[in-house]
């Protein structure tokens, strides 16, 4: 069979299943991003807290999730939680079956990993903001949450942007791990197609090309955001 037929949509080609794989990969990354950013932001806040226990907890969190291989984290969360809940159901003698959603497990894992890296990016961004910015706000009698939201956060995002853009690219590629828990992303779909048709090189190239397109699209969006952030610098 010729390559075009194999890549076609419909029953003769793998185009439609691979397209579904793209949807899974992109939606997984997009769903992870806000969760990971929010978590990372709060971990960064905790890391510079005056409260000793918060700082320690945040340090343990980033040590674990930056230190563990992502695949292992994924297995621990997905299978570990599934087995844990099932043991609980058995222990309580309930007659229900529980299945941990693979997409949710993927988002949780990726968000944990993403946030532990993002927290360091946020932390360095926090440190780049001069103390005077806070003090100026307080001196004007602006309440603390408002100082954070209106004065610090906009600067923080601008400083953290390059680091976060880096992490987004990593996240996009890390989504490939979810194929191990049965989620059909780009890598899994192209691998199935390659295995079934023996056209390994063709489908590996497709996978490569798709990730390249996603990376290019991302960099366009990121440079737009960065340009928007820079408006504040120009007078």
């Amino acid at each position: 069979m010729i390559a075009w037929e194999l890549l076609g949509f419909g029953d003769a080609g793998y185009g439609d299943t691979i397209a579904m794989g793209v949807v899974v990969t992109v939606s997984l990354a997009l769903a992870t991003l806000p969760v990971g950013l929010a978590l990372g932001f709060f971990v960064a806040l905790a890391k510079q807290s005056t409260e000793w226990s918060l700082r320690t907890a945040a340090d343990i969190y980033t040590t674990i999730f930056r230190g563990l291989p992502e695949l292992l984290t994924l297995f621990l969360i997905y299978y570990g939680m599934q087995i844990g809940v099932q043991q609980l159901i058995k222990a309580l003698d309930l007659d229900i079956s529980f299945e941990f959603n693979t997409f949710v497990a993927g988002v949780i894992t990726l968000a944990f990993v993403f946030s532990s890296y993002a927290s360091e990016v946020f932390l360095s961004a926090f440190r780049a903001i001069p103390k005077g910015q806070y003090e100026g706000g307080f001196a004007l009698g602006i309440p603390r949450p408002k100082v954070m939201r209106l004065i610090i956060l906009p600067q923080l995002i601008r400083i953290a942007m390059p680091g976060l853009a880096n992490l987004w690219m990593l996240l996009l590629k890390d989504t490939a791990l979810v194929s191990a828990i049965g989620l059909n992303d780009i890598v899994r779909e192209t691998r199935v197609a390659a295995g079934s048709t023996k056209e390994v090189f063709l489908f590996s190239s497709v996978s490569f090309f798709l990730f390249l397109v996603l990376a290019l699209l991302s960099s366009i969006v990121i440079s737009r955001i960065e340009a928007f952030g820079k408006k504040a610098d120009t007078r």
Partner: protein, 260 residues
Amino acid sequence: MRISNLLMASAAAIVLSMGAAQADGHSMKIKIGTEGAYPPFNNLEADGSLVGFDVDVAKALCEEMKAECEFVTQDWDGIIPALLAGKFDAIIASMSITEERKETVDFTNKYYNTPPAIAVPKDSKIAEATDAALAGMVIGAQSSTTHSNYAEEKLGSAELKLYPTPDEYKLDVANGRIDGVIDDVVVLSDWLATDDGACCKILGTLTPDLMINGEGAGIAIRKGEDELREKFNAAIDAIIANGTYKEINDKYFTFDVYGG
């Protein structure tokens, strides 16, 4: 130690299955896990349908057991954890029965057993598929398979290179990066029949080792589910006896894959 454990386990299984046989009742639902990227045993077609020897055997077994079966495809790497986590109730994916796997899952009797073989480029100077003839050569295998274990144990003179899927070692041997590959004879001969496999030939088959290759491919189920295991065993015997197995065998292979 190992043998006594096995004896104890099988004794326990017999006792339990006697109890289970009476509890037999209405039709049951079984979820079957498979990989979907291992032709001709199990692979997903372009239209999303699952085909192959494993799949046909599984369907025949379900019919024999009067069970409703549903297939779940899952990447090989996470297939045993997924079984343990209850994503499905049985793995029918050409999984070899090994002592190592028996520590985490239970197996039915084999439903086929084919020998491992070595494929080499057509112009290869390697004379035969023995450890001595392969000394110093680089042999590729899929990691965490019986074939990689076999190469490690039995082909110690050769250097072993591990790949996550068969596709990668196939590319490497076709490109001359490695001197040969080890896998199931069926998988290799199927690949050699395609354009991609035009590079290579079968050097020879190897004698299976009971400790490594085990008793063949079986159906993996969670430990302690002896009722299900006995049902599968009875169904395997039944489809062999009534000729269904031979029909499926002949649909895919020109030789007997059940093995003696």
